[in-house]
Symmetry: C2
Subunit: 460 residues, 2 copies
């Protein structure tokens, strides 16, 4: 207790009054992120307003051996921003300025607390956008996107955060500022940019992010195709990819997901289908028409139970409203669910979904599957009852079994959400002891005391 | 000397007879790479044939504190494969098998000694290709491409090696085998794939590489546009990029490069132009025609002195023969040249080329500039006389001054060739002492004795 008040007093000495939060009622909102099954109030929260304050906080914490949890918007689905009881949360939401926009060289330099959508909004009038689009893009912040290497439905064409990132400024736990990459900089020396991206706040705290901005396409149009089984829809996905067409998005929903989303969004999803593909193309009107024509032909080979091409932007928007609102939609039928995030070879889609169905029956827990099918990124939503600890425990075991299945199928534990606290014990399923040791040694280099977002990513 | 024979005897104990080279005359070809100004015969060369032999060699060398130089085809332009006198070169050219090709999931698994073009050749009949295309692609090997994160003229559209890489198997100097990424694996934990890519053989030796293969486009066509000055051509590049068209390649040559390449390739390059753009588009015939039409309109705004669109595949091929043969072409007018590799903001192209012209006059050394203009990657070829040590020393100073200029203009020391021995002292121009310390600490993690390709990348 003495230590707690000392730490808070120390933080108050180096930060403005408004930047230190220490009262229980004000700490409460920071006790969890979007993985709400885990909660822990931190010792304190600080909200630095510039890089110098971040440096001061980290130097202070490093000197005192105080653990630090970086936080953006708190939208992590894997508990990436979950506090420890003795930790200081460093919230970056006040560092939300756009520092530079350069259209000639197509980049933007922003602070970590700028929202994902905020970058696109800042450049949209000039005809540009920032490509990665997590479902949480209205809220989630670019600092967190970098920490988790976030993806989104449109990453099939544009890649994930790592593919759209040019440079970073990073403050190490020792308070040193490192410049990594930059607007015109392919890396000389080791590729830090890749190492920091997806390192889940364990190697330093970001103070600036330089991203690639892209020319917005002339337009985009979506189509829906419903199929008689998951397997057939999976074969259609493989045929589309094999055709060489790269849709900007290629999303898959199984029957429970179709019904949940349709009840929520009234987008005209086919309720008689066992599986639905949402396929979007973009470009000029001619290009759209050409690609949609070829996609229709491919889909028709798989005897679709329904097929519909959006005729207007509004129809496309309704189709996406259903998909982007999927989490809310599932929330209406089950207030509590775990959103899993695994990757599998597209060619094994049918088989993996069949196994998940069997597990669902065995665990007696419903599951809806939503899937960035083009890049093999599966999001099973496991529904449970948070008021029943046994139900939650079962849901966690079910989730672990799904992710283990993904790895066994030749895939990966996480596609775009990260490891966090949720999957740390599962890291052993994917990585050997040597591989984990080597990764831990890299953390040692940046953070020898393991103060930055510890107790995550690695098995305890 | 006793130590030398002990090392060779030790290597012979663990490897087949044919895999150990120790005679002076057989060692000679390994004394240099494509940066021929630097030469050093190694202590021995080993040519392992499988991963187990790589493991054995590294364990042996680590136990004896013997330094190790990994080598692919020896095409490095920055001395990446230059031996040390007391080192063992580990040549990977015999590990040249293609292990798996999967068209459904669009990847290939190959050994490090497969040539870059060899991957495309293996999948071309099925309509696929491997995208990054260094000028040395007939010879250079995928292991070296990964080590240097190699690029090429077509990387404007497809990205460099890092963007086309899915997984690696890496043997650490301690002889541990690490699996990094994979065909369907977005990284959980830290992104090793990015860290290893471009680490110039300093963190381990590759034994398998998994790359993305892409559907070949229906066709491609190139056009030429000559301009009255470098500045005007630079403005045209900026206008093309700003238009949102992404050509598959956008190459820039200044007058000396145009003349050297035309004399070599007879491709019909305009000899009256001060600067030439080679612009290539790909897709269906309609898409090509559409894009070429829009590109013509853009070029016409900059009063081209000549403009010509290839009407046939053969004409396109001739245009590319000139560009891809540029190194040979410059070799005809000056047997000795240094090929530099810097990155600048495209918007500062005109200004940087003007400064290089001034330096050329001051150093009294000719220079030809070839430039992946779309991504800002400049290749000045500095011509000198290798029989005159003063001329070489001047060329090196000139090169260092160009790269310093690139960094000052907001760019980078290297785009796609790496640091090697050539640019190690210049790393201080780009990176702070903290940043270099942090990178060295990462090498410590993988290679605590600094046995793997030491004396490169970092200032001595």
């Amino acid at each position: 207790m003495a230590r707690r008040s000392e730490i808070i007093a120390g933080l108050r000495r180096i930060l403005p009054e408004r930047a230190v939060i220490a009262q229980a009622v004000e700490l409460k909102p920071y006790e969890t992120d979007a993985l709400t099954a885990y909660r822990q109030v931190p010792l304190a929260v600080v909200l630095p307003e510039d890089e110098a304050q971040v440096v001061d906080v980290l130097k202070f914490c490093a000197a005192g051996g105080v653990r630090v949890i970086p936080r953006g918007a708190g939208t992590s689905l894997c508990g990436g921003a979950l506090p420890l009881a003795d930790s200081v949360v460093v919230g970056l939401m006040r560092m939300n300025r756009i520092l530079e926009i350069n259209y000639a060289d197509r980049y933007a330099v922003v602070q970590p607390g700028v929202t994902n959508i905020g970058i696109t909004q800042a450049v949209a009038d000039a005809g540009y956008f920032y490509a990665p689009d997590p479902s949480s893009q209205l809220a989630c912040m670019i600092g967190g996107n970098v920490g988790m290497n976030s993806g989104g439905a449109h990453c099939l064409k544009y890649g994930v955060t790592a593919n759209n990132l040019l440079g970073l400024r990073l403050v190490t736990v020792a308070g040193e500022v490192l410049e990594i990459g930059g607007a015109h900089c392919d890396a000389a020396g080791y590729d830090w940019l890749g190492l920091i991206t997806g390192s889940e706040g364990q190697l330093g705290i970001l103070t600036e992010v330089t991203v690639r901005i892209l020319h917005a396409p002339e337009g985009a149009r979506a189509m829906l195709a419903g199929f008689a089984s998951n397997e057939v829809a999976g074969e259609c996905v493989a045929a589309i990819i094999a055709s060489g067409i790269i849709p900007v998005a290629l999303e898959f929903m199984d029957k429970p997901a179709i019904h949940a989303c349709e009840a929520f969004a009234h987008a005209g999803y086919p309720l008689d289908a066992q599986a639905l593909l949402i396929i979007e193309v973009e470009g000029s009107q001619d290009e759209q028409a050409d690609m949609l024509g070829r996609l229709r032909e491919i889909c028709e080979r798989f005897a679709p139970v329904s097929m519909r091409v959006a005729q207007t932007e509004a129809e496309s928007a309704a189709i996406w409203k259903g998909r982007k609102g999927a989490f809310g939609a599932v929330g209406r039928i089950s207030p509590d669910y775990l959103c899993m995030d695994g990757v599998i070879p597209t060619s094994r889609l049918g088989e993996v979904l069949r196994r998940i169905e069997e597990m669902s029956a065995a665990y007696d827990l419903r599951v809806a599957n939503i899937f960035h099918a083009g890049d093999g990124n599966l999001h099973p939503l496991i529904m449970y009852d948070a008021n029943d600890p046994a139900s939650f425990a079962k849901a966690e075991r079910f989730g672990a079994e799904i992710l283990t299945l993904c790895v066994e199928a030749g895939g990966c534990l996480t596609g775009e959400h990260g490891v966090g606290v949720e999957k740390r014990e599962l890291m052993r399923v994917q990585f050997s002891e040597s591989e984990l040791t080597q990764m831990r040694a890299m953390k040692d280099v940046f953070d020898p005391q393991w103060l930055l977002n510890p107790a995550k990513v690695f098995p305890l």
